[in-house]
Symmetry: D2
Subunit: 282 residues, 4 copies
């Protein structure tokens, strides 16, 4: 099975051209989700293609698409399924998001191959070791910060990482890092963005007396907390909840928003469109 | 704009054929949702087609599709947009579902033209009159039941009704009636089906001590409460809620499940597949 | 039945004192919700008291509580049940919140007696007339604004209004007005506060690409959009939703958040505590 | 801090008597939730009592309550806080509920001391060993079943277990076992009860085409799947979801409903009332 995602300027006949290419090689469409943003005439699509009866090598089929893709001025991506994304998880102290990802990976809910866990603290080292995953403790305090990010970048390069997950990684990323790994970094923010940007969102939420708190999973961009949103989750707050209760409920929001966000990304259900993310939900 | 929904046995190249037909007449696809059920090899699709630049009369475009549709052994349906569905609402005593539909229709949330309201009681007559919609009070008690359904059927025929909404219509429909208007009747059931089938679902729910209650919007079939489900909605129940509170919360579930169900049906987002309904959500 | 809500500085034995007073007159407690905020040592409670067997006149029972209430340095309020709150609804153009309140009032979901509807536009006049409720069209454009609020205040005074509902009333209230009717004005804000404060929240939400939109029901204070939050509601957003779709979904959020907020207020389930609202949910 | 939960036949003055007892020993009420079921005149309450200033030994305070408790013909329970419930987890093959409980216990979200994990299969043994918790593999196939339950009962007795969690334990419990540990066994059922009782609920749900699936956390009684419901959770189903997807979504429902149910039970927020459970939510 192949997943194809594609975006391009809209014009008449795009679906026909894509579908013809697939049919001409005897592929079969299992799922076709297409959406045209008529505000700015952009075409977005995600296809699942059954390749069992295809009449060429898969790789020829993929490279053969180049002619059409370029003619459409498209950006596109094919993914063989089943697959596992080479993934690094970045953490600081808290373990709930890390545990959620590890558990879902072991259950095959998330198609990840976790090559390393990196922490600027060593609180998660024991968990990594239990799972037999290499743990890199990279101290980033004070003026070690830039060196630290250089080390992290080198690990991501060496391990040919396809996805970096910031699982409550409490460091602000330098611009060059965001740029180099653009579209490959997913963060979980512990508030319902754009509310409560910045530090201590649960305390802010308590003080404001909100009745719902949330978490936001988004792509990382140089503009902190402003990257394209992939998924959000909320929980109800009662007046009897202390800031600690909000943190507890918030952890559940974070776990589920992050897990769904990673899943959408991994199965190529997301297409970044400026500071918005198209998400073909499942 | 045209909406096309279509289902047929799966085969290779269906999307290409459909898209080619559209492109060949210079139509432009705005949204294409397709899904293949690989369990029984059935193909389902819903398309939104921008017809601004189309090179033939719309009706020729529609009838021209017959050749392809028949070749695919498909069932399909085109709908011009904007449109209003000719609709009759059937009621008994309660007004909340009726009011919801009337309000959403007046707000253009629902694309309906309500030609009549029919009640086997006269409780809703005043509401109909306020809105200037004809109200038919058809008594169906005892042996007047069959006559009553004959009268209702005649109204549906005379008014060339495209949709009949059972908005808490507390009568069991005869089989011949379900058959004649198959696929055109939508009911709201006051429980989260398949739980609490039958009478007094809120009392049943109270007695069972459930923590969530719900409502179910479904197509009407001769098999009571077993028709294809279009939409469901639940609300949280507290221990302090009496059966009356459950009815109150249930009314909210009914209103929103029914409204969304009607919307999905009206915009051709539903395809009946045996006793399941495919719903291309929005 | 009596509802008592009370807040005071915490001290030992408050519940005993209150319960003793009730028991000493043979009242029976049906529901007692109490909560102590240990951060700032404040005591909050809401009681439902069955007065069927009470041994004095209800009014003597209520005035007799003064001694204890003052000794506790409390703020408190008794409400006879059943009751209807004398209510004025303020509107501009949109009708969905107004319709929701009218329908719920007619269904006895909301215990309101709506004495007037006031509009700075006349779009809702026809609805008011259908329901037989006086409609006051008060133009507030330009320099008529202050006069307008003087007229509104006079209506609220003359009709001895207990609750003013801003049902999408698109005017910023002057401070004197907020002060005079403090704790008696409820607003529905068309965003999930504190996100998207200010104009055009649905457009802001669309531009930011959020995956959930919401509405917020809050008490009105002079600090715009910052009053104590009573209730919030969210709905899921898809990438295919236009700003118009967000407005449509938002209307549903507004209707349900406002209806629940009014219900909590009317049944004395809310206690304002600075810029937070304690809500004893049901 | 002490938690007191209590139920008894209703009469006037119960709250006063309880609060007087607490105040007479200089205890301070932090939270008092009380509810009277007027259908059958039963009184239910849960109290959180700050014992910092109490003027007797805690145990004297607790035993001193006996006189009042018996006079009220009450059932009641005091719990010192903080505390950890001695807990055994029963499993078969699947790991998601087990992992959820272990993680939440390690995060102090759940106040449990897990003394043993018991499996009628050995699939979860590795997880138990990683956590350093004793694992008992007790084969229960065929005629070993009764012996198996005798062994389990002996473990529960030996370890003075306060809570047994059936974390997807796929065995029907004998009546004597349910009776002996009545009120101490919590199960997670993989459907939204009372829908889809019996085997393969996800397949049943798929076939029925429901739009929401769920899970139910309940106390175990001899009447299978009919015990008092503590918590329920639902997730939305799309037409594209296969039965496998329903199982995946269902796992998330199970994890969260079970975790919340255990939390309510552990913090004495539940009172069993026939086949219903009163739940003082937080």
């Amino acid at each position: 099975m192949l997943i194809l995602k594609l975006s391009c300027p809209d014009q008449h006949g795009i679906v026909a051209k894509i579908a013809n290419y697939i049919a001409s090689h005897n592929g079969n469409l299992l799922e076709f989700n297409q959406f045209t943003n008529t505000f700015d005439s952009k075409f977005f699509a995600r296809l699942e293609i059954d390749t069992a009866d295809i009449d060429v090598e898969i790789n020829s089929f993929i490279t053969g698409f180049n002619v059409l893709g370029e003619a459409l001025k498209a950006e596109w991506h094919f993914r063989h399924s089943p697959f596992k994304l080479r993934t690094v998880i970045l953490v600081t102290k808290t373990t709930h998001c890390l545990n959620e990802i590890l558990w879902r990976t072991s259950e095959s809910d998330l198609p990840l191959e976790i090559t390393s866990i990196i922490g600027n603290r060593d609180h998660c080292q024991a968990i990594a070791e239990k799972e037999g995953i290499p743990f890199h403790h990279i101290d980033m305090d004070g003026d070690q910060k830039n060196d630290g990010f250089q080390q992290i970048a080198q690990i991501l390069r060496d391990e040919e990482v396809q996805l970096g997950i910031l699982a409550r990684f409490m460091q602000i990323l330098p611009n060059w890092f965001c740029d180099e790994f653009s579209g490959k970094l997913i963060n979980i923010h512990h508030s319902f963005l754009p509310a409560f940007i910045g530090a201590n969102p649960y305390r802010q939420a308590y003080n404001r007396g909100v009745k719902l708190i949330g978490a936001t999973c988004h792509y990382v961009t140089a503009d902190l907390d402003a990257g394209p949103i992939i998924e959000q989750e909320v929980k109800r707050v009662l007046h009897s909840h202390s800031p600690q209760d909000l943190m507890r409920l918030g952890r559940d929001c974070e776990r589920s928003a992050l897990a769904r966000g990673i899943r959408y990304h991994a199965y190529d259900r997301t297409i970044i469109d400026g500071n918005r993310a198209i998400v073909f939900e499942d």
